[in-house]
Subunit: 292 residues, 2 copies
């Protein structure tokens, strides 16, 4: 950061000569609840969500700027905790909070913009997947969705497995280094799984003009998800396939690429369109655009 | 723009190797009213406010990204008009809307982030003013404040003078080229007048460790402001000194600089602290921090 907060604008290094930028608006009650998450956790999550968009392009995050809308009932302690959350999440990737704006609002509103540097790499878009590519994921899938389902059912504690999922809802752990790493490995397409694996791979399939075939047995379903599914009478695979908010990365790679351990191969790119699981269109869960 | 909307992030050129970034959060009812301004005007104004922060650093705006919170009652026509407003204001400076995010919210919320390129110039901050510098302004002062006062008094039309002020409230006209121009002229400090000339020059005085002496007779008070002041029984000079939202630029220059016609010399930088008008601390209008 060359010039930080306190002027009309911040000045950041952009050594690549290109800058990657993404913005998200997070609204209390819709994207977070102050009774389920602390200010610190909300800061961590809001930062993570945006930093993840940057690494999903194959770039290194450099900075966040934050517009903060605050109701009168929010105290300075809460804002300090939020700020600490932003800072600590940024520290994970070497980014800084370069500036912001505060306004009065009815509910807490966060307008978060992340910037990143490509370090000479080609950005990895959604549109480069080719038939024959392998499909792989890095990071957790379905954990945040299971945690949200537990909160929704009134489960706010319990076994370490359940607590880990509640925590996953509060605070995602995106696999940050895997984004630039995938660009270096030659990923043909990549995105941040924020709407659920099926929906997000649908974006890759649409943008690339290909089909994606997933192998259900290859999808990671750890015991914590199974335990939560038993608790709630749910199907853990549905969380894995349709849950967002973990900010895993999904990418396609040429078949000859040797994937590091952080990546799990979960399927293949074929000719055609849409996303199928074990050859079937996934119909549970109400995702209309997967019913066609 | 190298990669536009539709992926996890946009990719923009940053040929200077540095990027200038500023963000603002605009909340319905606080920063704009849908009954006083059209969607198009709100888009123009939200864009102008952020583009102005970029030129106030001496940079050329390159792009905006916009997070848009929308209540259910807002129709597609309004959003289209807003988008047109953003685009048309960006067109004035050669910038583009590179991406965004839409969320459901209770009231309209705009999280706007602007990016810019310095083109090799040194950023002009608030902290470089030196005793002996001249103080100059470019753009309009007090017009938007007078327009807001007219709206507040129920005046929504009338003489061309009054209409021009109502219009100034709806749609600022920042003097965009004067920002990079001032950097080339050797401005020692500069900012976007968004909180009122006195308050904003107070920021320059504080950051630079100097005093600012304004000459009231040099401040531009066009007939439109006088006409509105007669209509409302107000003091036009107060609008000029304390009104924000026109997004004029205020800057300090070494005394030997020959200022182009766009800049009006309104005062001088001296040793000391604070901002005075004709040697007096301005006490009308309730600006506490100018009463000391």
């Amino acid at each position: 950061m060359l010039l930080g907060p306190g002027d009309d604008a911040a000045v950041l290094k952009a050594p690549d000569g290109r800058v990657v930028v993404s913005t998200d608006l997070l609204i209390e009650g819709r994207h977070f609840r102050r009774d389920w998450s602390s200010g610190y956790d909300i800061g961590r999550k809001a930062a993570a969500q945006n930093l993840s968009d940057i690494v999903a392009m194959g770039a290194d995050p450099t900075a966040l700027v934050v517009g903060l809308g605050l109701p009168a009932d929010v105290g300075a302690d809460w804002v300090d905790a939020l700020t600490d959350g932003f800072r600590d999440e940024c520290d994970l990737v070497g980014a800084t909070v370069a500036g912001g704006d505060i306004a009065r609002s009815e509910t807490v509103v966060l307008g978060v913009t992340a910037l990143g540097d490509l370090g000479g790499r080609t950005p990895v878009t959604r549109s480069g997947a080719r038939p024959g590519d392998v499909v792989a994921v890095a990071g957790r899938l379905g954990h945040a969705a299971a945690g949200l389902a537990l909160f929704g059912a009134g489960v706010t504690g319990g076994s370490p497995d359940l607590v880990s999922l509640l925590e996953a809802h509060r605070r995602p752990r995106p696999p940050y280094p895997c984004g630039p790493g995938a660009a270096l490995l030659g990923a043909t397409a990549m995105l941040d799984v924020s709407d659920g694996l099926l929906q997000d791979l649908g974006h890759v399939a649409d943008a690339s003009g290909v089909a994606v075939e997933l192998d259900a047995a290859a999808l990671p379903v750890p015991e914590a998800l199974s335990a939560a599914a038993r608790e709630l009478g749910a199907d853990p695979l549905e969380w894995v396939l349709t849950g967002g908010d973990d900010h895993a990365l999904a990418a396609t790679f040429p078949p000859e690429v040797r994937l590091p351990a952080e990546w799990t191969r979960v399927g293949a790119v074929t000719r055609g369109r849409g996303v199928r699981v074990d050859g079937q269109t996934w119909t549970t869960g109400g995702w209309d655009h997967f019913r066609a």
